[in-house]
Amino acid sequence: MFRNLKNWCYGTLALVFLAGSFTSHAQGEALFKAKCSSCHQPHKNGTGPKLFKVRQKWADGGAKEGSIYQWVNNWQAAAASDSYAQSVSTWSPTAMSAFPELKKEDINAIMDWVDAQPEPGAAAADGAAPADGMTPADGAAAEEEGFGWIWIILGVIFFTIILAVGGVRRQLNIASSDANGEDVKEGMTYGEEFKTWAWKYRLYVGLGSLVIVISIIVSLFLSLYQIGVIEDYQPSQPIAFPHAIHTGVNGIDCKYCHSSVTKSKSAGIPSVNVCMNCHKQVNGRTPAQQEQIAKVYDAAGWDPSGAGKYIGKVKPIIWNKVHVLPDHVYFNHSQHVVVGGVDCKQCHGDMTKQVETVKVQPVSELNKIEGNIPLTKPTMTMGWCIECHSKKEISLGALDTKKDGYYDEIHRRLLQNKKAKALYGQYLEDGIVSVSELGGWECAKCHY
């Protein structure tokens, strides 16, 4: 994916340089993107036909001089006066919008820019796709597995060395005793010898064993704490979906695809029809991208060959879930996003920079997010939730502006109660109302 990005950067840079040579190109590009790009592309038919060398096409087709500019300003007028324009109007049942504000030079600037666009296939020919099918996540897993074996092999080697050295030492001892004419303690096994040795150095052996036992217990407990911790979890995905391009480069809002995040407990994985809203037209610039987007077409049953129709059977995409909560936890996205005003990136990290497939961002990464409360417990653990709930403030602004809101009523009841000061005094002292002070630490808020 990094390599792809590099290609992207080269491509974009090249375009920028090309464009920079003509000042009008910059203007043309801006206008194209503002006015045309929702329906037209340079090299591909979309809602509207491709625009590459379109002026030439009209001229070749026998269109009247200037008819094309009239078409852009008001296609109906053009179609009425020019037979070629009339034939163009039957290209699609979808009518084109009128752009009376575009002057002839604007239109020419757009067309110039469009005509300067290279064929995507040519530009991307050198964009090599990853040769093997292994995604980075797979690689990491394999690497980790490899480490395990190295340790075992090392352990075996060390153990053999210890035995060998012990054996040599023993033989030397026997030999030296023999040489000194002492009684050779024949038949003393390794075990007995070890016992004798251990008894001789019993203080050190005892202390050492104690240290070993304690460290085993401690490390056992520490590793038990790691059970269920899925920080850095980055499963492979059927489609190498780059959030960085979608939300970073293209600036698509998270909620456009994860639309149920404001309504439901689950943010929702976008259904394929949402992908197709854009990918009906965007089919990728590099073979690598095209390969991935083809999977979307496959799922949606879309014929990308240009017929522009849904043909085949639909086939759901089976994703691997990244953020997995145990069944006994109830988490509601809309509570946090709508009521709590939490931004997606506060828990999921800055997705505009997530070039690879999604992973559970470690808390160290999340702490770098602007405005985030620094937390210490690993992401997606109960400690993490609890920590945030104890620090996160309920927005008092909401209390001030909307006097009949949910929290205002709760606040009012609190103020009206004489006992409240005694009962809640400790909470009110610091002048902030945290989630936990309103019951955000209570079991049945999340477990039922």
Partner: protein
Amino acid sequence: MTRKYWKGLEELKETPEFLKSKEQEFPSQMSVEDFLSDENLKETSTARRDFLKFLGFSVAAATVAACEAPVTKVIPYVNKPEDVTPGMPTWYASTYYDGQSYASILVKTREGRPIYIKGNKDFGMTNGGTNAQIIASVLGLYDSARLQGPMYSGSETSWKQLDSAVMAGLKSANKVTIVTNTIISPSFKAAVDQLAIAIGATPENGKVNHIQYDAVSYAGMRLANKDNFGAEIIPSYDFAKAKTIVSVGADFLSTWLMPTAFATQYGMRRNPDGDWMSKHFQFESNMSVTGSNADYRGMIKPSEQANVLAYILKAFNVSTGVSTTLSADAAKIADAAVKALKASKGESIVVAGSNNKSVQLLANKLNNVLGAYGTTIDLNEKVNLFKSEDAKMNAFVKDVIGGRASDAVLFLGVNPVYTLSNGKAFGEALKKVKLSISFSSHADETAVHCKYSAPDHHALESWADYNPTTSHFAVAQPTIRPLFNTASALETMLVWAGKASRGGKDSKTAHEFIRSNWQTSPLLTTAEGVADLTNFWNMAVHNSCVTAPQATDAVPLVFADAKIGAVPTASGLEISLYQKTGIGIGAQANNPWLQELPDPMTKVTWDNYITMNPSEMEKGGYVTTYDQEHGLNLATVTVEGASVTLPVYPLPGQAPGTVGIALGYGRGENGEQIGKAAFQTKEYGGYAASEDGKLIPIGANVFRFVQNENGTMAYEVSGSIKKAEGTYSIAATQIHHTVMGRFSIVRETTLDTFTNKDKEAYNPAHMLKKLDKDGNHVERPISEFDLWDAHPVEKIGHRWGMTIDLSSCIGCGSCLIACQSENNVPVVGKDEVRRGREMHWLRIDRYFASEEEAAVGTRKDAETFSFDEAEIAALNPKVVHMPMLCHHCNHAPCETVCPVAATTHSNEGLNQMAYNRCIGTRYCANNCPYKVRRFNWFNYPSYKKFTEVNPAQDDLGRMVLNPDVTVRTRGVMEKCSFCVQRIQAGKLVAKKESRPVMDGDFASACVDACPTNAITVGDWNDLKSMVRSSADDKRSYQALEEVGVRPNIWYKVKVRNEKNDVLDALQVAEGHDAAKGHGNKKKHH
């Protein structure tokens, strides 16, 4: 106040077993040693040592496995339906009709799966009323025993093959008989007509014979109305308009006619805070749900039903020629009824449950005398349910058995092989019929004898329309794509009629047909406000119903006197066959929720039995007490050569000389595949099998006893009973969870006392003595005594509270099923219920009360008093139904004893249960004064013992689980959470809209389900909330208030509209000297 309430004869008599069991809420009769030395264990594959090995391994394995994050797959929609938001419920308005119950419902779906049904309180004639069967029907959708496609002779076939074979068969047949339950669907009727025309039927040749046949018939009523009004109608009854209700054997709150509508109407007038309260007289032989709610209940034999009506008519100077002989007790109550009826002329209602025409003629006559027609009974608005044509059906059955039958027979919504008294012979004869087709969703008793099965969709998968009463029209819409390769019966009829072709799972045939029928119906579309047909249909689907302009008969129906024929007579033992609230006619016998629903009266689960009055049982030498180890005696009841052997259950209030047996049991006698939970299971899982290897059905089928009397089916028959060998273990929730002899649980008064006396007389505050500063003993209210500091929930934030009106609660059990459905409460099976390990978060305690003051502590003659004397009063006791659930005590005793703080208090007044913290010490349950905590003894969703009964052990059955509620595992406590998931959801709605929580944002499942609106929930701290005003009401009290646990649940004193001098005297006395009375009581506990 000083009545003694007892839940069973065991408690009244204080048998040694009872005394032992009341010490232990969770009886574990078997010690660990006993368990391990059990011979059976050696037969199991896991020996003890192996078990320990496995235990060691699995701990290690679990630790290792837990180190890796599990890979969870997530599959989003390809094309997301517009109205589905993952994680959010989508509700659909629909209508339920199964041939018995009718209700307007709302269906909750999650990610396209229906998971919960509740009544529609905004639209429809049932006003939100439902019953346990309707709520539980959602589980039937996910029944893996359903037929998954068309069948021919027991093997799979395709719809194409079936259609062509059937169409050819129907065309070539000389005579086609269509047997259905009562069809109230106008579109289905139209489809039947089209089919008839298509296969060449004309009125002249009579090729098609459509018989409507109901398992429980109301033909007697329709025939009586024909004599009186000239038309076979059933009019609408409005119990909300009746100041006096007299019911003779009609269980109208539970099973008679339209209980979903009646219970709601009845509930409106049982609240003494309303404008007026109805007075209800019940004459019956079985203690029914309706009878248990009556202000006056007379015990009569079924053969005396006519006598009661004649007796009352005589008091209005109408002679009938029918005997008016009644027992002294019944006559006393009949006299009271006469007095009440005379005082409320034109505002009273008389209903009779008998299917005998003469009894119904008497009831009609009385209604006419009382001026009920046109006031409480609406003759214009006719009920279209229950049009069973008993005579026609009998003739058809005879023909089939005699081999003279039609060439082709269709069965839809009926199971005659099971429900006919001669069903077995009918089933055998059916095999000889050339073409027989069943529409049943299961290979049930009838379907296995049919050549073809064309399984209908489940009701939640199909479109349907209904016309339950003259002007009311309703739509049922699908809430899920069909799970199996089934087809809507409506589509099938249209296909066979050549009017449509098969559309598969996405078929629009039924929808298009119904819509066009509605849009072209002059009756519906000429109504005011119908401008646009598309809008009209869309609104009809949205609301689930429309009301056509009130049609009045061209010639008004006028009562004409008719000759009353012979009234039922009886000899020997009289047997009253009745329906249970949960099982009904047995259509959902495979539904484990309903099987495990404790019967409202007997509290028995998973069985039917013979109910007999305990006094008679003692005379007959039957044991009247039972527990988990000691069963009940078996007896054989014989009627006209047919006999069943069932345990004899002691039910106070059963009329002497009669017994009652419930219909709807004994399904799948020949091992038909009617569902996993429909058969008896063994102690350690697996099915019990008879000697010849057949599955053993639950209970016995007493449809065999139904007699054909003068052309109508009689459900009250004569026979004999003989004690049989052996005893039978019964799983009842009755003797568990005792009230520990405390008196402050149920409070009751009469309407007179309630209206004329002040609160002290019927709802006195609990007082305790304490020393004032001068050293004198003074009486102070309970609230002043406290061990703990106040919990900060009063007036701060929310305090979720609930009030339960004991006056309105009819004990139907709908709340219990709704709770089970909402909160993933496991089914545990008969054996576990027998051990007192049922898991229901909400139970309904049914207390029998006797006039006899039996409590030792309040009697002067305590030394010489014998408990046996109280038994005389127990012959026909008053009943109180009391829903009991976690009280969310603000000073909760369970919280203080938990060693791991798994149960804690929230600042919203909830007693929270964190399952993952719980280590299963069960200290909390021991310390709970209300005994509402439940312990997971097993891993119900996976342990083999529960494979047959627990729907969560089935890939399909699991679909019904509510994804917002954790499925609990072994070794943890659980209990009512106040539907905390709904509280959170309701709060979130308010927060998102930036407004305070209001009434209606939150309703627990029990509130949804209550047909009489007896339960109110809300934020007690909100001074404007309904629950606050209800809790502050003068009728409100808290159960076991003197314990000082400060619960968040209030009960409201039950008010009976009766004259009760004894109770009045006691309560007045208490009003003057309340403190003393209570002081005495305290001393003895």
